[in-house]
């Protein structure tokens, strides 16, 4: 197995960040946490981080997931990073909007960790 891949988790709910960190670390990933869109962008643009994949919540205060996505897609350094929306917004129009703004995949809460992990593996190649 090669180098450890790094996943950025963006969610305003601490319980969700914490359990994802726990589970993803068990799967052998490096994990970076962000509790808001602003912090997520700081981590993503930080040259000392090499982020391989982002799990992004949509409903967040101040800056929502769609906006984070738009910002990430504007910058060369981050525009190719696979992004999986992880959200409780389950209506079809939300899914479509998420993919339209540039999301690679979509997982609706509540989810099975196995399913999420399979999608992560798929996008990490």
């Amino acid at each position: 197995m090669g180098e450890k891949k790094t996943i950025l988790i963006v969610d305003d709910m601490p319980q969700i960040r914490n359990i994802l960190r726990f589970s993803l670390k068990k799967e052998g990933y490096n994990v970076i946490l962000a509790s808001s869109g602003r912090i997520a962008l700081d981590h993503a643009f930080d040259e000392s981080n090499s982020i391989d994949l982002i799990l992004l919540d949509i409903m967040m205060p101040k800056m929502d997931g769609y906006e984070v996505m738009r910002q990430l897609r504007k910058v060369d350094r981050t525009k190719e990073i696979p992004i999986i929306f992880l959200t409780a917004k389950a209506q079809q129009k939300d899914v479509i909007k998420g993919l339209e703004v540039g999301g690679n995949d979509y997982v609706v809460k509540p989810y099975r960790f196995d399913d999420l992990n399979k999608k992560i593996q798929k996008w990490l190649g």
Binding site: M13, P14, I19, S23, Q91
Partner: protein, 536 residues
């Protein structure tokens, strides 16, 4: 010079004069006949006159007028003389002969099949319209063929032409009249008021709805200027709109407070556009008046519908979030946490426990909201002691947090109030819990009751994060949560305050809030007090 040629010339001249006189007579006759037939648009009248005139020329014993029926694709008798219509209909002349005669376009005798004398003379006079095949007149007469001569033929084909044109005109007139009626019905049935004026301001058309919406009492306003017919206020409005309409071609949904009857002002929407003729010349203006009440009602329903689907979407989101957390932690305990690692298991189960509480709180709040919205949220009033309720709530909450300093200032002579004990308890749980949640540890929370005339004021004041001014109007909205990253860390359904507000209102009270960001919030309840009727 010989006399012979002169004689011949005289003969010729006399014959010519006779001929001319005859022709003049003929022309006079034809003109009279034509006048008789063509005047009038009544179908039966045209036909009767036609049959009369033909009778004068050919003294028929019986005749039947066949007209082409577009639907049946055949000729049918529409009128007959000297015999029942049915007989003629059953005894239609041979189609091939008819078609040939109509193609030829002239009066033609047809073979008589009856073998028994007296021999009858049968003939067909085709009716030719301008555009399509119209029909023919079938005639039977006692006279023999001597009436079948050139003069009569000229007269009859002229008459037939005139009758054809008259019938076609009549048909066009009926169609025109039908489409006029149709358009008129549209104008009258449309759900809006329509008024058309010409460029001088004279009303050229007005429908019933317009007279109703505008409150015009007189029905006969066609030809009058709108300035005479409309109220002064509306006239002024129309005056000001006309210039704009002429320049721009239209105005859209201009609102106007109309009060034809002083006591019932209504809001009407005015749409108008320039009326153009075939050559795009401006010939007037069409106004459409709409009673905005109806469209505002539709707007309200649409908004309600939108709010409902937003509500469902919010509920779904609110339920999914704790569910998702519960599922994730349980999955982790089952699949990933080391079975020997009791501490982590315990930590995770604690999270699950809290989220389960949150979920059941949410379900209870949702039930309350749905009862409130369906009008099934009932309160039962009994005399209750407010200080008792407040104290029990504080005692319960203190077991969860002892880091806040809760001060109560309640007058000792406070009489019981008429209230629903459980619901009033719910109000104080919500408000005091909010004060704790949104205050820093060690913060002071003050609960004060002030007795006013017939009213109690109850203040719940904290030194917490406060509410931004622009958010205050919305904090009693369902699912509204003040949008800051600080508050998102604090659990809540966004349903507590709307429920509190409803409970207070159903007790005949009011709830308001004063707040300043980072300085704290103060919720002010006012409740009826001391009214003997209140306490049963």
């Amino acid at each position: 010079m010989s006399t012979e040629p002169i004689k011949a010339d005289t003969h010729f001249l006399r014959d010519t004069i006779y001929g001319l006189t005859e022709q003049i007579d003929l022309l006079t006759i034809l003109q009279d006949l034509s006048k008789k037939i063509v005047s009038g648009f009544d179908f039966d009248q045209i036909i009767n006159r036609f049959l009369d005139v033909v009778k004068e020329v050919v003294n028929y014993n019986a005749c039947a007028l066949f007209l082409y029926n577009e639907d049946l694709k055949t000729y049918r008798v529409v009128s007959s003389r000297g015999g029942p219509m049915k007989k003629f209909n059953d005894d239609v002349p041979d189609n091939k002969i008819v078609d040939w005669i109509i193609k030829e376009g002239r009066w033609t005798p047809i073979p008589n099949e009856s073998k028994t004398p007296p021999k009858k003379f049968q003939s067909i006079l085709p009716l030719c319209g301008m555009i399509k095949k119209l029909g023919f007149l079938f005639m039977i007469s006692d006279q023999d063929e001597h009436c079948y001569n050139k003069t009569n033929m000229t007269i009859l084909s002229f008459i037939a032409d005139q009758a054809g044109i008259a019938l076609e005109n009549q048909n066009l007139y009926v169609q025109l009249n039908d489409s006029r009626k149709y358009i008129n019905n549209i104008v009258e049935s449309i759900n809006n008021g329509i008024v058309a004026i010409d460029l001088s301001g004279e009303i050229t058309l007005i429908n019933k709805n317009a007279t109703a919406i505008l409150g015009i009492e007189s029905g006969d306003v066609i030809g009058k200027s709108y300035r005479e017919v409309f109220t002064d206020k509306l006239t002024k409005k129309i005056d000001s709109l006309i210039k704009k309409i002429i320049n721009q071609g239209y105005v859209i949904e201009t609102r106007f407070e109309h009060s034809p009857y002083k006591e019932f002002p209504i809001t009407i929407g005015i749409n108008a556009s320039v009326l153009l003729d075939d050559n795009n010349n401006k010939i007037g203006i069409i106004f459409v008046f709409r009673d905005m009440l109806a469209s505002m009602e539709i707007q309200r329903l649409l908004q309600q519908d939108e709010m409902k689907s937003e509500f469902v979407s919010n509920v779904s989101h609110e339920l999914r979030t704790p569910l998702s957390i519960i599922k994730s932690y349980i999955e982790a305990i089952l699949d990933q946490v080391d079975p020997e690692d009791y501490n982590t298991q315990r930590d995770f189960l604690n999270v699950v426990n809290k989220e389960t509480d949150r979920l059941s709180g949410l379900v209870n709040d949702l039930l309350d909201i749905s009862r409130i919205e369906s009008g099934k949220y009932k309160i039962s009033l009994t005399p209750v002691s407010l200080p008792e309720i407040i104290q029990s709530v504080i005692d319960n909450l203190k077991s969860e947090t002892d880091s806040h300093n809760i001060i109560t200032r309640i007058p000792s002579d406070l009489k019981p109030i008429s209230a629903d004990r459980d619901k009033m308890t719910q109000v104080f749980i919500n408000l005091i819990n909010n004060a704790i949640k949104f205050s820093p540890e060690g913060g002071e929370i003050e609960i004060q009751v002030i007795i006013m005339e017939k009213m109690l004021l109850c203040l719940i004041k904290d030194q917490g994060i406060g509410i931004a001014e622009e958010c205050i109007p919305r904090i009693f909205d369902k699912f509204y949560r003040v949008d800051t990253s600080d508050t998102y860390e604090i659990p809540g359904t966004g349903l507590g305050l709307p429920i509190v507000k409803h409970i207070i209102k159903s007790h005949g009270g009011e709830i308001t809030v004063k707040s300043e960001l980072n300085r704290g919030s103060e919720f002010i309840l006012s409740l009826p007090y001391g009214d003997s009727k209140q306490i049963k």
